[in-house]
């Protein structure tokens, strides 16, 4: 230990480059991920506002669009149909991969894993740095595709071949698609470098006393997320490489029997477009959980801290996370019910898909039980965490419709799907990310963010998000298809015209609210109130580090852990929190364990208790811990 103390005390002089650019310190890398993620998020959001304008005002000219995108992509202030597709594609790609995967996991895994498990840094700081630089490179390659002559990739973020495989099928499948694939390959490299690092850090570098059962739920969530990414991203890598072969070298993995309007009958035979969909969704579905699980972990932590209560059912939370992680690998087919996949497979995926709703339901109910009889502090982070739970409920329930293959026949690829995934994974994960930013901002910059501005940000974002995405379910139930540039040939859908206007205005409002956030974020870095070491009176180890955020995290020895992370409002103490590194004095030893044995004792008495409404109430009234 002493050697690392020495290291922390007089390490070599840091230049600007080594401190802010080629940094190997996990806290700096997490900031790099965060700020890159925020910039990508803003670009993605701006794109969505641009194409929402087209949906709401298909006949109005917006000179600003022409000024911004140029007369090629927005002639006369109206988005070009092809560019609309390109924006939709880029919006999806940026949000799913660059903001909610790298921006969310990258930021919080880097920041929290070493701090919360009690490690001086990641297992391999150099790989960690590489992970960020591959991510940045990938972002730049992706954005550069906006400037190629034929436009960026525009076949949807799912890039189904043959559309994406044949440059002559649409302009966006030319150079733009090649750059998209290159960017994704780089992204996967980044993600794998990061993932291996996160896993080995959690498994090997926990401090003394930090058993797996004492890990905060954030660590569990980030750990399982890294496992998911490690197992699923390589499949997309394979799929993407085969697609590159089909595009460039004349192979026929995904192509067969194609007569293209502009090229005649092609030579390709024997491939299957469905194969790509299998490979894509084998990543694509775990990807959804790669996005949502860190957000759920962050929420678990924040809800417990700010309700001043232990998270309800820690074991159940961990088991449900594991259940979700496992099941997410065997449900990918529900994206493909009606793609021509054998209907027998559809029936199988129907079953597995609806099973995954069970652990999700458990998590929701546990959040509610944590709030129950708490002592809730509405910090900015807490507001976003509550928002996340609300989104998770709304979006999760619509998933039950889409997971049912029979109903999916009608709802597939309609606005119902758009509403569903934007709420359950888009909004919920973004809220998790924002909650995390507000909560751990003091750990990143040593200052607090402005509270009133945070409230404004929350309420405007929350309301506008519901206003944008909730009505989409109604449109989808009416059969309005997604990815339509305009509904000129389908006058029947004219009834949704005014709804589109409302949604667009709400989206603009949401966009404005993010300006408040940006101002708050960047100004608080410099002028925010000093936070002190533990501004939220939380239990976890990151709040034992000094305010200065030094290299190596702790100036002295790494603290030893004596208890689980959720000792809030324990009646045994006067304080309403007890940090993990506070030693026990006999009585409270293994608090978690004692409570367990107590339950067993009471359960042993007469019989295995039948679950009735009566026992339910009885159990509620009778606390079974301490």
């Amino acid at each position: 230990m002493s050697s690392s103390v020495a290291h922390a005390d007089h390490h070599h002089e840091e230049t600007f480059l080594s401190k802010y650019v080629f940094s190997m310190d996990h806290k700096m890398i997490s900031k790099q991920f965060l700020i890159t993620g925020i910039i990508m998020g803003l670009i993605g959001m701006a794109m969505s506002i641009a194409f929402r304008l087209q949906l709401a005002y298909p006949d109005t000219s917006f000179p600003i669009l022409e000024w911004f995108f140029g007369s090629k992509w927005a002639p006369d202030g109206k988005l070009d149909a092809g560019y609309y597709m390109a924006l939709v594609t880029m919006h999806g790609t940026i949000m799913v991969f660059y903001v909610l995967t790298a921006g969310l996991s990258g930021t919080f895994a880097n920041l929290l894993l070493p701090l919360q498990i009690g490690a001086r840094d990641m297992a391999s700081p150099f790989m960690n740095m590489l992970s960020y630089w591959f991510f940045l490179l990938s972002s730049i390659v992706l954005l550069s595709s906006l400037f190629v002559e034929t436009g960026p990739a525009s076949g949807g973020w799912t890039i189904y071949p043959p559309l994406s495989a044949l440059p002559k099928a649409m302009p966006g499948s030319g150079m733009g698609m090649t750059l998209w694939l290159t960017a994704i390959v780089l992204f996967i490299v980044s993600s794998l470098l990061g993932g291996i690092n996160y896993i080995s850090t959690v498994l090997n570098m926990r401090t003394k006393g930090m058993s797996m059962t004492r890990l905060p739920l954030t660590v569990w969530a980030l750990f399982l997320t890294a496992v998911l990414g490690l197992l699923s991203f390589p499949v997309l890598l394979g799929g993407g490489l085969l697609l590159l072969f089909d595009r460039g070298f004349g192979t026929s993995f995904y192509l067969s029997d194609i007569y293209l309007g502009s090229a005649g009958a092609l030579e390709h035979t024997g491939g299957s477009p469905i194969l790509f969909q299998h490979l894509f969704w084998f990543l694509g579905h775990p990807e959804v959980y790669i996005i949502i699980m860190p957000a759920l972990g962050i929420t678990s932590e924040i809800i417990a801290v700010n309700s001043r209560k232990p998270i309800f059912g820690y074991t159940a939370m961990v088991i449900s996370l594991m259940g979700i992680a496992f099941l997410s690998f065997i449900v990918w087919g529900h994206h493909m019910f009606i793609t021509g996949m054998n209907p027998l497979l559809g029936a199988v995926f129907l079953v597995t898909t609806l099973i995954i709703a069970v652990p999700s339901a458990v998590k929701t109910f546990n959040y509610l039980a944590t709030l129950w009889r708490g002592n809730i502090r509405f910090t900015n982070a807490m507001m976003f965490a509550i928002g996340l739970v609300s989104f998770f409920i709304s979006g999760g329930l619509t998933g039950i419709f889409l997971g049912n293959a029979t109903l999916d026949i009608q709802l597939h690829d309609t606005y119902f799907v758009v509403g569903h995934f934007h709420i359950v994974m888009g909004c919920a994960a973004i809220f998790g990310m924002l909650a995390g930013i507000y909560h751990w901002f003091p750990k990143m910059f040593g200052r607090l963010m402005n509270k009133p501005l945070g409230y404004i940000h929350f309420w405007f974002t929350f309301i506008s998000a519901y206003l944008v995405f909730f009505p989409m379910h109604f449109m989808g139930l009416a059969g309005v298809p997604r990815r339509y540039y305009a509904f000129t040939l389908l006058p029947e859908y004219g009834v949704w015209f005014d709804v589109n206007v409302v949604m667009t205005l709400a989206a603009i409002l949401g966009g404005i609210a993010q300006i408040v956030f940006l101002y708050n974020f960047f100004s608080s870095i410099f002028i925010g109130k000093k936070s002190g070491t533990n501004p939220w009176q939380a239990n976890t180890l990151e709040w034992t580090t000094p305010e200065e955020r030094i290299h190596g995290n702790w100036p002295g020895e790494i603290p030893t852990v004596y208890r689980w992370a959720y000792d809030y409002s324990n009646p045994a103490y006067d304080e309403d929190f007890m940090m993990q590194n506070v030693p026990d004095e006999g009585v409270e030893e293994e608090l978690f364990e004692t409570s367990k044995t107590k339950v067993n004792k009471s359960a042993k008495k007469p019989k295995p208790e039948a679950v009735t409404l009566f026992t339910l109430i009885k159990n509620w009234l009778k606390p079974n811990t301490i």
């Binding site: 099928a169 502009s262 309700s307 001043r308 069970v358 026949i409 509270k451 309420w459 139930l477 389908l490």
Partner: protein, 591 residues
């Protein structure tokens, strides 16, 4: 230099055009307005309107670019070049391959997105489309009707939003917003100085949670009250009714959960807000409770799963569907075709290698295949001729570089580069290779006797541009795609299936409500069923639709008897086409 070369081309084209299209000369002379007063033009224009909607509307509008350019004023632009325009419309790719300068320029301007082939359109039909365009389309053309439909009873946000008053409101709300922020700033400052919180944010936000809860539920119910009548349109198919019931069951399972959990979430947030002196209730877990909320969702979901499972098997894996009447639905960028089996009741085999202008679905027919091979060989010859001309072309391009400026120069340089880098040649050579493979495959297929696709079953198949179905008769749609993945979506029939190139898919259903009945139900005499595309398939994805008519047997028979078989009267029809196209392509090849 260019103009000198171009003009003889024009003249030749015009000459051949006039010569070969003389049957439609009468219309052409009247192409420039005004056309009124000439006998029969009204009928032609009306026909043009229908043809435009069926063939052109997915990629073109009169005003504004869709995928292809706006067509308004197209006659003025090509006034002297009608023959060229006609050739372009029929088969633009042939023109491009032959190296026609104007064709290549347009092809490049649109990033190599070629226009579909319309060799099936007769000259009169093209003329009538052009006449319709020249007459400014018509008021209730299929374009731009989206708002007129609902403008009467729905508020129009469209123009007013950007009027001055609204700008003022926007500015004002922005100012108010700024003021609020400043007030917050001041209060923050005060609390910093005095050391205690001026505003009890906790109570305010707790209260806001309650307000949001009420507002949220209110909004959900309000939206439902407005839009419920548009949701899940009346099912027009047999399985759709069952499916709607299942949808109802799922609503019953999820809606209470939605309301209860959202209520609890916001209510708990309000009720258990922080109060001084209170400590939270220490409760780490409760196994019984957790069993309950694991098992209850599991049981409910199991019920939904078993229902969904059964119905899925019934809809998609039922043996009954084998006996249903079959038709083929064919998707391409950007439109649909349908193929009826004709008198023999059997759909002939088809192959993508057989697709061309007169056989858009590639239905197998021995004579057609032989003709096609000939055609392909001519294609190859013309492409080889183009390759041979490349050095000359390059020299010409280089010699005309001087004197050009800005964008014009850039484009010219780009063109030179595409020749110099060998892109042009490579592209042509690859195409030649593909054509050779195609010829090889076709000759191979023609040689096979056993199991040959040329069974003759397809000769009487009828290729049509709208689907007609008999009410209460099960129908099995067999899907085939020409180029990329499309999805056939029929919302009223609760039917959707992807249309995948190289992978035949199908869907069987029974329509139970005729178009007339649905019109009565919806109270809309204009209503029609449509088959629309629901998988992103290119830039004009949003314009792919085909009308579906459900009617009684008598009217169906009447309609189907009007349709001609694909190769039924091929002797006369193909003869014409051959004469038309071959000399023309030779002419183009020479240039």
């Amino acid at each position: 230099m260019i103009t000198i070369i171009k003009n003889p081309v024009k003249l030749l084209l015009l000459f051949f055009g006039l010569f070969y299209f003389q049957d439609s000369l009468a219309y052409k002379n009247n192409l420039t307005r005004p056309i009124d007063g000439i006998e029969g033009t009204d009928g032609l224009i009306k026909k043009g309107s229908e043809l435009f909607a069926a063939n052109c509307a997915s990629c073109h509008a009169l005003k504004g670019k869709v995928v292809g350019p706006a067509l308004e004023g197209v006659i003025d632009k090509y006034e002297e070049d009608y023959a060229w325009l006609n050739a372009w419309i029929k088969n633009s790719q042939k023109l491009v391959k032959s190296g026609d300068e104007r064709a290549v320029a347009i092809y490049n301007e649109y990033n190599g997105q070629a226009m579909n082939i319309f060799e099936n359109l007769k000259d009169e039909e093209i003329t009538s489309i052009l006449m319709w365009i020249d007459n400014g389309g018509d008021g209730d053309a299929p374009v731009a009707t989206s708002e007129t439909n609902n403008a009467s009873d729905q508020p129009v946000f469209n123009e007013s939003l950007f009027s001055n008053i609204n700008w003022a409101i926007a500015l004002l709300s922005f100012l108010i917003f700024l003021i609020i922020i400043m007030i917050f700033g001041i209060l923050e400052l005060v609390s910093n100085i005095t050391g205690r919180e001026v505003i009890n944010w906790n109570n305010i936000n707790a209260f806001m949670m309650l307000v949001f809860l009420v507002g949220f539920f209110g909004l959900v119910l309000y939206e439902y009250s407005i839009h419920s009548k548009f949701l899940l349109p009346e099912s027009a198919s047999e399985h759709g009714i069952e499916m709607d019931k299942m949808m109802g069951w799922t609503w019953m399972a999820t809606l209470p959960v939605f309301f209860v959990t959202q209520f609890l979430l916001f209510f708990f947030s309000f009720k258990y807000r922080q109060k001084p002196g209170r400590k939270a209730y220490f409760l780490s877990h409760n196994n019984n409770l957790e069993y309950v909320w694991t098992l209850v969702p599991a049981v409910v979901l199991a019920i939904l799963v078993s229902g969904g499972f059964k119905m899925w098997n019934k809809i998609l894996r039922s043996d009954d569907s084998k006996n249903a009447k079959q038709i083929e639905v064919f998707a391409y960028q950007f439109g649909w075709n349908a193929r009826y089996p004709g008198e023999d009741g059997k759909l002939g085999k088809a192959n993508y290698n057989l697709i061309n202008g007169i056989n858009p679905l590639g239905v197998a027919n021995r004579e057609h295949a032989t003709e096609l091979i000939k055609e392909l060989k001519e294609d190859i010859a013309s492409m080889e001729a183009t390759i041979a001309k490349i050095p000359k072309e390059l020299a010409k391009l280089k010699s005309t570089l001087g004197g050009r400026e800005d964008e014009d120069r850039d484009n010219h340089l780009k063109k030179i580069h595409s020749y110099e880098s060998g892109d042009v040649e490579n592209d042509l050579r690859l195409t030649i290779r593909a054509r050779n493979t195609q010829i090889e495959r076709l000759t191979g297929a023609l040689k096979i006797n056993e199991g040959s696709m040329f069974t003759g079953e397809g000769d009487d198949d009828q290729v049509v541009q709208e689907i007609h179905l008999v009410k209460d008769e099960p129908i099995r749609l067999k899907f085939r795609a020409r180029d990329v993945i499309h999805s056939a979506y029929l919302p009223y029939f609760r039917t959707q299936m992807n249309v995948v190139p190289g992978l035949p898919t199908e869907f069987t259903f029974t329509p139970i409500k005729s178009t007339e009945e649905m019109r009565a139900i919806k109270g809309d005499p204009e209503f029609d069923y449509y088959l629309i595309c629901n998988k992103i398939c290119g830039n004009a994805h949003f314009n792919m639709k085909m009308k579906v008519v459900v009617e009684d047997e008598a009217s169906y028979n009447q309609w189907i008897n009007q349709q001609t078989g694909l190769f039924a009267n091929k002797d006369t029809k193909e003869g014409d086409d051959d004469e038309n196209s071959n000399p023309e392509s030779e002419v183009l090849a020479i240039n």
